[in-house]
């Protein structure tokens, strides 16, 4: 049996990066995710797997280091929290435009501005809808446990290389700071130069006289060429939407009332469902694991059986708009949220649920 280690979500990201053959990590300190780089520096993976770890001068620089490293076909990642990710959004747009694979971990805190260092989910719109300029999508995966943090690093790189697209692991201060037991999988070695040529034949690896040069760029000044590229991206996103939706459900089989919640909120909503079931109310939970692509199909299917749906988020109401689009009027859609680093209790959500559904 694999060893179970007690670790923070942030530490799980770092250990997973080393154990899953990541080539490079570039980051900048910010609460509540600084343990990622601290753990990497303490582990010194450059002495074991050869992984490069570098503290950059800013988040702007970190994300551009990812651009450089990803251009070489390497598995590169960074982590930050909301204000830092805002700085990275320029670079993420370039990475999307140059079709480069990388993994960005965003351990969200409350904003806007410097905001708070406490947990929040208020960057759903920023990350799921884009963040940077231009028509593009991040693939967004939302962990709800330290084990997810560990597992999603490798899954993130799989998706990133499959689609040559940035992947954002959208976590929050709770998932980053909380310790839980994490099961470690067998070590995966870093890819060899030959494997990089095989998996990333587009990469900048030094041009032999015999092949065309490889150019990593997001620039095209010709309107028609740019439009063709945008259409190509659209086709890629359609493939991602068709193939990569992932979600989990809790007690939805006979549920008349459906909660939709991601990340830490989905865990709290499990307790809500338990409480309501104990009262004889048939509640269930849908947890989107991928936020882009969004599980719209499953939400629509559940909407057909539900008396109502409620989106529970640590923000003023962001994902609820995607839920409403998916429900498309089939049932009422409610919302309850907390902000500023405040976390709802299950009792509080139960009360709001009853108010919304006239069950009080």
């Amino acid at each position: 049996m694999a060893e179970k280690i007690l670790m923070k979500g942030n530490e799980a990201i770092a250990i997973s990066a080393i154990r899953n053959g990541v080539d490079g990590y570039f980051g900048y300190p910010i609460t509540p995710q600084s343990e990622v780089m601290e753990t990497l520096m303490k582990e010194k993976p450059w002495e074991t797997t050869g992984m490069v770890v570098l503290q950059a001068e800013s988040e702007t620089s970190s994300i551009n280091m990812l651009y450089g490293g990803a251009s070489c076909g390497k598995k590169v990642m960074t982590s930050s929290s909301s204000p830092g990710v805002s700085l990275m959004c320029e670079g993420i747009s370039y990475i999307a435009g140059a079709e480069l694979p990388c993994v960005v971990v965003d351990v969200m805190r409350g904003g806007p501005g410097l905001g708070t260092i406490q947990p929040s989910q208020s960057d759903y719109n920023q990350i799921v809808k884009g963040g940077g300029h231009g028509d593009y999508h991040n693939i967004v995966i939302a962990p709800a446990s330290a084990q997810d943090m560990y597992d999603f690093v490798d899954w993130g790189f799989e998706l990133a290389f499959k689609y040559r697209n940035p992947v954002v692991v959208l976590a929050d201060g709770i998932i980053g700071q909380m310790m839980e037991k994490v099961e470690m999988h067998p070590m995966k070695p870093r890819r060899t130069a030959e494997e990089i040529l095989r998996d990333a034949p587009w990469a900048v690896t030094g041009k032999p006289a015999s092949r065309e040069r490889h150019i990593i760029t997001s620039l095209s000044l010709d309107a028609d060429i740019q439009e063709q590229f945008n259409i190509k991206l659209k086709e890629k996103y359609a493939m991602i939407e068709a193939n990569e939706v992932r979600f989990s459900e809790y007690m939805t089989g006979d549920a008349e009332y459906i909660f939709v919640a991601f990340g830490c909120s989905s865990r709290i909503c499990e307790a809500v469902v338990d409480e309501l079931r104990a009262e004889g109310i048939k509640a269930g939970l849908l947890r989107p694991i991928t936020l882009y692509p969004f599980p719209s199909g499953e939400i629509a299917r559940l909407a057909a059986q539900a008396k109502s749906m409620m989106s529970i988020e640590l923000n003023l109401g962001q994902m609820v708009h995607d839920v409403r689009l998916a429900v498309n009027g089939a049932c009422p859609v409610g919302f309850y949220g907390r902000q500023g680093g405040n976390i709802y209790t299950p009792e509080e959500i139960v009360a709001e649920f009853k108010k919304f559904n006239g069950l009080a």
Binding site: S61, N64, G68, G91, G206, K207, T217, S218
Partner: protein, 257 residues
């Protein structure tokens, strides 16, 4: 006696040829621009060192954004000012490669100051080619950090006034104080002699970058006759008389000397 074309083309008669690593693409640079000459020198150095398959170039945002169209190597095209960040990761992840950035003064000395200073400070084993012509060429001749006092640009139409616009930034001298830099030189390419010296400097920078002794920086004081609104000949003269006073030609730092 007449000689045939074939005879002239014999290898022993060739005194000049275009470097093999310059592509057939027609350059978009204005006639008289220094970029074309510097591209040629970089291509020659890579060819002569035999490192085409081990060299990765990082192009900037600015007139040389399309450098990747002209030199036949693998390229990464960076966001504005970020080339040294790309180069840092590229070199650290591929330490057996020669990695260079090619940046103008808007890219390197304005929006990208943090990136260049920290790449220098960390002693990244990369080459930086810095084209300093005191103006933003691509966007139509606006003031650059390196614009001289009194110099007219589209955003300093009455001349750069230090009270309004501050003073010219002398990057090469600034970074010479950073322990991570190995070789810093300032060159120009306005005469054949100057171009030969610039080429030697570029070659030295590439050679130093393989020694693991820190960052090598070659500034080329250049002309932008379109932006300066001069003929190429006038621009060269103006550069010698004005730019060289603020940006004197010569080596600034060489840790191996």
């Amino acid at each position: 006696m007449s000689i045939s074309i074939e005879e002239i083309k014999k290898p022993e008669n060739i005194v000049y040829r275009r470097p093999a690593l310059l592509t057939d693409n027609v350059m978009h640079y204005c006639p008289g621009c220094s970029h074309g000459t510097v591209h040629k020198l970089v291509a020659e150095v890579i060819e002569e060192m035999g490192i085409q398959d081990r060299t990765i170039g990082i192009s900037p945002v600015g007139c040389s954004v399309f450098a990747y169209n002209y030199i036949d190597i693998d390229w990464e095209e960076a966001a504005h000012g970020r080339a040294p960040a790309l180069a840092t990761a590229t070199k650290r992840l591929c330490p057996d490669k020669y990695v260079f950035t090619y940046q103008g003064d808007g890219d390197l000395a304005s929006i990208g100051t943090a990136e260049i200073i920290h790449a220098c400070s960390r002693g990244e084993n990369i080459v930086v080619i810095f084209i300093n012509n005191g103006i933003y060429g691509m966007t139509g001749g606006q003031m650059a950090p390196t614009t001289l006092i009194g110099m007219k640009t589209s955003t300093t139409p009455y001349g750069r006034d230090p009270k309004l616009n501050g003073f010219p930034l002398v990057i090469a001298d600034m970074i010479s104080h950073l322990d991570g830099t190995a070789y810093i030189t300032r060159q120009s390419v306005h005469t054949a002699v100057a171009a030969r010296k610039a080429k030697s400097a570029i070659r030295k920078a590439f050679e130093y970058s393989a020694k693991g002794i820190g960052l090598s920086f070659v500034e080329i004081v250049s002309t932008c006759n379109s932006g300066w609104k001069m003929t190429p000949v006038e621009a060269n003269k103006w550069m010698v008389e004005n730019m060289f006073a603020k940006y004197p030609i010569g080596d600034i730092k060489d840790v191996l000397k």
